[in-house]
């Protein structure tokens, strides 16, 4: 009798387990429409995926947007001041009802122009920008904290626009001072947060903005997770997935970019790392971007290219070199789609960049650092002899080029963003020699003297520092920061001092200053040089720096004829 009861109970249990297994199997075979799923926030993800959460927590993605607190604000706010164009911004801390309040007081002479209480921060890698609440919207302040150099900067220094009128008289118009003050709700919100919904009411022009989570968190790449969290409260389902992992069975309630096709995986990154345009702007501004990871990005928007037009005008052309290569950051997706590694191979963003591994600066997977990623496909080039033949360099120059990596030639630093030159993500083949594009080729970024050019009478790449447009000048100023370019140290420093003093763009002067410091930071010690100072102040500081470096101060007339040829257009950076 006892045995019969035990057998009956056993059979009943097996039947129940079988039914549950069947239900789980059906559930795992049912595709989900993630548009209808709610966000849950990264805390819910962390409960089960603690390791992934911890590895992503280290990244600058995660800390992109945060509430301003003692823990998140990097600047001292201890009474520092930043003067620019006759305005003085003073940064202080005061006690508020919910802890410390960070205050930026802007004044001109005795007159207080504005007093702003910082509510949120944007960025945690290079610069930390500050947001203040104004009625229904968040607004970015015109001052920011340079994290690496630990100094305040005016935002005009980060953009490629010329000095405003009145700078040398210390009387810049307020509109010029606030030139890069932008609204967060219809701009930054899209890429710096999870599940943004700007909530613009077209009738009133007011915002009721909501985000699922501040900063770039789990669900930005994996999609909304409410269904996933709910479904996986079942241990049977979880263990079916653990076992299924061995047979590549994935969970339809969430997106794993690693399991997507190369194109769909790149779309996840391209949503933010590729400036786009949509036919339905009002829908985006009201309800947000409908794209969810796993979908085709092209369903909702198209990446901007050099020939993208608005009402027949190529309004974005200045953001690209004339060969169509992007010259600004946040166009990496465009470069990727222009690369044969993507169109003819199966490369995707996450082959090189790991969101859960590597140095947070660049997030390059340690397993593919150096040339390792390239030689996975181009394996013959891993051999020294083949490599030299590939780059057509004579054996006598072998030592000189021993340290040149694949990306130095095929992904040269010809892209501007955040006061730095970055690598192009258009993986292409450099064509040294006769210059056919306004873009400097990869060889020229080292051979700035033009020594590699077959035509010795042709203009040397260094001329771009004076005669180029703002981005060309930035690219050369950045290249001069490296020791391995074809000039002596004294020549490089003299070029940089000249650029710091005479360039009309604070953004170019800022990059030249950074290059100078990269060379001789210790030798110059503390410097009062500011890229946004008036020409009089800059001139005096350049004289002092030249003296400290035992250099002859370059004459302003030296490259005047080249400067006369320089294009002074402003480069709009997607605001």
């Amino acid at each position: 009798m006892r045995i019969a009861i035990a057998v009956a109970i056993g059979l009943a249990l097996i039947a129940l387990l079988g039914l549950e297994a069947q239900a789980v199997s059906r559930d795992l075979d049912t595709p989900r429409d993630l548009h209808r799923v709610d966000f849950v926030g990264s805390a819910a993800c962390t409960r089960c995926h603690a390791e992934h959460a911890a590895s992503f927590e280290r990244t600058f993605h995660r800390t992109m947007t945060r509430e301003a607190t003692r823990d998140t604000v990097f600047a001292p706010f201890a009474g520092e001041t930043l003067t620019y164009g006759g305005f003085e911004a003073r940064m202080t801390t005061e006690a508020g009802p919910e802890g410390a309040r960070f205050v930026v007081t802007l004044s001109r002479g005795e007159h207080v122009v504005d007093r702003a209480i910082v509510g949120r921060t944007v960025g945690s890698h290079r610069d930390q920008q500050l947001l203040v609440r104004e009625d229904d919207r968040w607004v970015r302040l015109p001052v920011a904290w340079d994290i690496e150099e630990a100094r305040w900067i005016h935002m005009n220094e980060a953009f490629l626009t010329p000095d405003p009128p009145g700078l040398d008289d210390d009387h810049v118009a307020l509109a010029e001072y606030a030139r890069h003050v932008v609204t967060w709700n219809d701009n930054c919100v899209f890429c710096h947060n999870v599940g943004p919904r700007p909530g613009l009411d077209p009738a009133s022009g007011r915002f009721t903005t909501e985000v699922a989570e501040l900063g770039v968190a789990c669900e930005a790449c994996h999609g909304p997770g409410a269904d996933h969290v709910q479904a996986n409260t079942s241990p049977m389902r979880r263990y079916a997935l653990h076992a299924g992992g061995l047979h590549d069975r994935s969970d339809p309630s969430i997106v794993s970019p690693a399991r997507l096709s190369p194109e769909r995986s790149a779309d996840v990154c391209g949503r933010c790392h590729g400036q786009r345009i949509t036919d339905d702007v009002s829908r985006f501004l009201t309800h947000g971007d409908p794209f969810v990871p796993g979908e085709d990005l092209a369903l909702y928007s198209a990446p901007l290219f050099v020939d993208t037009t608005i009402r027949g005008e190529e309004v974005f052309a200045a953001r690209f070199w004339d060969d169509g290569t992007a010259r600004l950051t946040a166009y990496e997706f465009q470069g990727y789609t222009q690369s044969r590694c993507a169109t003819e191979g199966a490369l995707t963003c996450t082959d090189c960049h790991g969101m859960h591994e590597g140095d947070p600066r660049g997030q390059i997977r340690p397993s593919v650092a150096g040339d390792a990623m390239c030689t996975r496909c181009h394996d013959a080039l891993a051999r020294d002899g083949e490599r030299l033949e590939h780059v057509s360099i004579s054996p006598s120059l072998e030592d000189e080029h021993a340290r040149v990596a694949c990306v130095d030639c095929h992904m040269p630093r010809v892209v501007y963003g955040l006061r730095e030159a970055h690598r192009s993500h258009r993986i292409d083949i450099p064509r040294p020699g006769a210059r056919t594009s306004d873009r400097l080729d990869a060889c020229a970024l080292c051979h700035l003297d033009g020594g590699h050019q077959p035509d010795r009478a042709a203009a040397a790449p260094i001329d771009d520092l004076f005669a180029g447009d703002p981005i060309q000048r930035v690219i050369v100023a950045s290249a001069l920061g490296r020791e391995d370019v074809a000039f002596t140290s004294r020549e490089r420093l003299t070029f940089l001092l000249e650029s710091m003093r005479d360039d009309r763009y604070p953004g170019v002067r800022s990059v030249a200053f950074a290059s100078l410091r990269a060379n001789v930071d210790r030798a110059i010690g503390t410097t009062e040089f500011s890229p946004t100072a008036s020409s009089r102040v800059r001139d005096a500081e350049v004289v002092r720096l030249a003296d400290a470096l035992s250099l002859t101060v370059p004459s302003p007339d030296l490259h005047a004829s080249l400067r006369a040829r320089a294009s002074e257009r402003a480069i709009e950076i997607g605001e």
Partner: protein, 143 residues
């Protein structure tokens, strides 16, 4: 000194006693190993929170259930007749399997869950509860 009752499950009693003391020694040794892992700051152990939890549970349950077996051998098994031998086996098996389930499930586990060996734990837990209930019932009946 009284003669042992012929109807007592002596085999179960000896088994429980032996496994109790052996288990106590074994799981206590695991405790020392875990303390050493803390003391020596072994990254492989300290960095994996779930492994730590599972091994700690294995140690705690192992020691507690081994003690239970020793107590059972002295105070529980004499209450059971030979016909109730399966109760001894149930308790002894559960006391061995339950901590072992925790320990084995700490090996190569997925990020969010213990390894598949964790399935041993609820089954052993059920066996333990049934066994304890049987002993409690026997105790109730005993003169």
């Amino acid at each position: 000194m009284s003669e042992p009752d012929d109807d007592i499950d002596l085999r179960g009693l000896r088994g429980a006693r032996t496994l109790g003391w052996v288990g106590l020694a074994t799981w206590a040794m695991l405790g020392i190993a875990l303390e050493a892992a803390h003391g020596l700051k072994l990254a492989g152990y300290l960095d994996d929170e779930l492994t730590r939890l599972l091994l700690t549970l294995a140690h705690a349950h192992g020691v507690a259930l081994s003690l239970l077996l020793v107590v059972f051998a002295h105070a529980g098994a004499p209450l059971l007749s030979k016909a109730d031998a399966w109760t001894s086996r149930l308790l002894t098996g559960a006391a061995v399997a339950l901590p072992l389930g925790f320990a084995l499930s700490s090996i190569a586990h997925p990020e969010s869950d213990p390894g598949i060996a964790i399935l041993i734990v609820p089954i052993a837990g059920l066996a333990l509860v049934i066994g304890l209930a049987r002993v409690a019932f026997a105790s109730w009946r005993s003169p």
